[in-house]
Amino acid sequence: MSDTVLLVENIHKSFDQHHAVSGISFALEKGEVFGLLGPNGAGKTTTISMLTGLIRPDQGQITVEGINLLEQTNQAKMKLGLVPQELALYPTLSARDNLSFFGQIYGLRGRHLKKQVEQSLEMVGLKDRANEAIQRFSGGMKRRVNIAAGLLHQPDILFLDEPTVGVDPQSRNTIFESIESLNRAGMTLIYTTHYMEEAQRLCQRVAIMDHGQIIALDSPANLINSVGQGLIRIGLNNGHGLQVQNEAQQLVSVRSIVRHDDFLDVQTNDNQAALLSIMEIIRRVQAKLTSLHIMEANLETVFLSLTGKTLRD
């Protein structure tokens, strides 16, 4: 029996001629923490909006545990939970009142509602301040209530859209611990972020997005391995880039070289060996070195190697 809980097939979405999402496909397994990593404007929030039924894709299919989201929307939505990027709470109501309201919207009633509200407050560590108005909370506390509101109805799949934006480090850690705890309890999560360290820490698989498309999808370890030991970015001028690239490509210690304007991104099997050899090439062809960055292998360098820009660009 398939453990696929979410199947996304070739979804597209455009707004006024701008293609926000172009042909995204992936399958989510039960109990997985799946990351969507990409810079601002990559299409992560639009993707999440489609997967949670907020907007309809222009084309494509979304299936939630065998239920077509586009045709049996409300039925599918009962299995989904959303923690939106913005703080979607009523500021003048208390934490308890906010959670009770959202629980009731999902059909929770009576003792079951009360129990879920109390458990959610306990989980996010806000039980002692449950009766205070949200507007009196710190940003981190509001974020925690924001998460609790997405969990009340015990969804099978929880979407978290950049849940740590603007959060202090202590609250951030609390959020991470909550997510890890939820996953240990069997919940499936989709986590969007533009912080690669969050994706590396939390996600079993990461889809790297840019310009509305998934440009790489694998476990963080495999993605990082694809850039070998890391990335050396070499800045050159006086027009010798192509010659250096062609010669360096022959080196055993070099896995691949991508040339962007005035710099070369070099993926290596051995940083030190590759660096020494490339410096020799530069000296011999009398190219002028303008900059040199050695980047360890991580998701940031993966993104850089694929797109030529950083996650924060």
């Binding site: 949670t52 039924g53 907020l54 907007i55 929307t73 409300n74 039925q75 939505k77 009962m78 989904l80 959303l82 939106p84 913005e86 703080l87 979607a88 709470l89 009523y90 500021p91 959202f102 919207i105 999902y106 059909g107 509101a149």
Partner: protein, 425 residues
């Protein structure tokens, strides 16, 4: 410090200028108000003038000539438009009353068949029954309008009655005096003069000499009220409706807040239909409207002793339909305006302008003709007519169904357009 004030001022102006639509509304609102109120109020100050005469239905059943002379005189009055015929036929009481009940005219003047007969009789005998001149008035017409009309008509009637009775009074006076002629001439002559002047009432006792005319004011047949309305009875419905339509702004801003604080997005991710979402937002404001109306009418009853008509169900129907139209318009504002400033400006503009055009501040029947037509395209005018039909004209539920139907029609159109333009994202 001055520089900082300057910098903040410039920043605020930049922000304001970025919302051109809100600025336009801010300037458009007072302009609209001035234009609309000036044109509408023109009727108040110009009502009963050459440019804007008040129409007066005249039903002359008098067998004699006195009423005809009065009507002829009234036709020369600038500011009165005398209407004696309908489709070429002389007006009857029934036809004229129906015109008033239908709202096509507001005032009717009726002379009974024995008017001239009684006028003549009163010239020689003070104990004959009075000749009655009837003003049949739509109860919603205020005294500020009726007063001058009534005063003018009474003046001409009294004048004509006096002139009609003068020969009889002189003759009677002379006869009485001549009976004393055989006695000493001087005293007799004095008695003649005294008798004559008494009859003619020339010694500032005119007010004591009755012409035998009595004026009465009644509603037309078809309008059942136990007493004529006071000014509060006429004004409270208008101000109530004025207040009800102010619901647009809080309603629009509530939905706007829901969108901007992100909860709208969270609710759309829930298994919740858009219909349920919007209805859930609208129902509280609908309830507030109903409570508003109940409260204002209660204040009217307790503080100003107004009556609420003869049919509570009719009142409820009109109130519910008015609230539906107001909420529909509020949702429309939400759909059309994109910023908080636009919502505030548009809802205020609509509230005030439509209230003025709809007759909340000035009766529509004294507005210029084109504005009377325009007023029929406002829910306010229909709501006012509905409330006045019940509270002022004593009509029942069946009678107000047309107004209720039109108000619900407005509500339907507003909701339909709002849902078509509403952005859920």
């Amino acid at each position: 410090m001055l520089y900082q004030i300057y910098v903040i001022t410039v920043k605020e102006l930049k922000i304001l200028l970025r919302d051109a639509a809100a600025l336009e509304l801010l300037f458009l609102m007072p302009i609209m108000f001035i234009v609309v109120m000036t044109i509408a109020l023109n009727g108040v100050f110009d009502g009963g003038s050459k440019n804007n005469p008040i129409s007066l239905l005249v039903v002359n059943a008098d067998q004699g000539q006195v009423a005809r002379k009065v009507v002829s005189s009234l036709k020369t009055v600038v500011g009165l438009n005398i209407v004696e015929t309908l489709d070429g036929n002389k007006l009857t009481r029934q036809a004229a009353d129906q015109l008033i009940v239908a709202g096509k005219y507001k005032v009717e003047l009726a002379f009974p068949a024995d008017f001239s007969e009684k006028i003549f009789a009163a010239g020689t005998n003070n104990s004959v029954p009075a000749a009655i001149v009837s003003f049949i008035v739509d109860p919603s017409v205020g005294n500020s309008v009726m007063g001058p009309v009534r005063g003018t008509v009474e003046g001409y009637v009294q004048h004509e009655a006096s002139m009609t009775q003068a020969p009889a009074r002189i003759s009677t006076g002379l006869n009485d005096g001549l009976q004393n002629v055989p006695e000493a001439a001087a005293p007799a002559l004095k008695k003649i003069v005294q008798s004559l002047t008494d009859r003619m009432a020339l010694n500032n006792t005119l007010e004591n000499a009755s012409t035998g005319v009595r004026f009465e004011e009644t509603p037309p047949v078809g309008i059942h009220i136990t007493r004529l309305p006071n000014s509060a009875q006429q004004n409270v419905p208008g101000f109530t409706i004025f207040g009800v339509f102010f619901i647009m702004q809080p309603l629009a801003l509530s939905i706007y807040e829901e969108k901007t604080n992100g909860t709208f997005r969270r609710l759309q991710a829930a298994p919740l239909s858009r219909t349920a979402l919007l209805l859930g937002k609208l129902i509280p404001f609908f309830i507030i409207n109903l409570i508003q109306m109940a409260l204002m009418l209660t204040v009217g009853v307790l503080a100003f002793h107004i009556t609420l008509g003869n049919d509570p169900m009719a009142l409820v129907l009109v109130a519910v339909a008015t609230a539906a139209a107001a909420n529909g318009m509020g949702l429309l504002v939400t759909a059309l305006a994109k910023t908080r400033e636009q919502m505030s400006g548009l809802s205020t503009l609509l509230s005030v302008t439509l209230a003025a055009i709809g007759g909340m501040m000035v009766p529509t029947f004294i507005m210029p003709g084109f504005l009377q037509v325009v007023s029929r395209v406002t829910p306010h005018a229909w709501a006012l007519q509905g409330f006045q039909d019940v509270m002022v004209r004593g009509m029942g539920a069946a009678d107000v169904l047309p107004e209720v139907g039109v108000l619900m029609g407005f509500a339907t159109v507003f909701f339909a357009v709002a849902l078509w333009r509403f952005r859920f994202e």
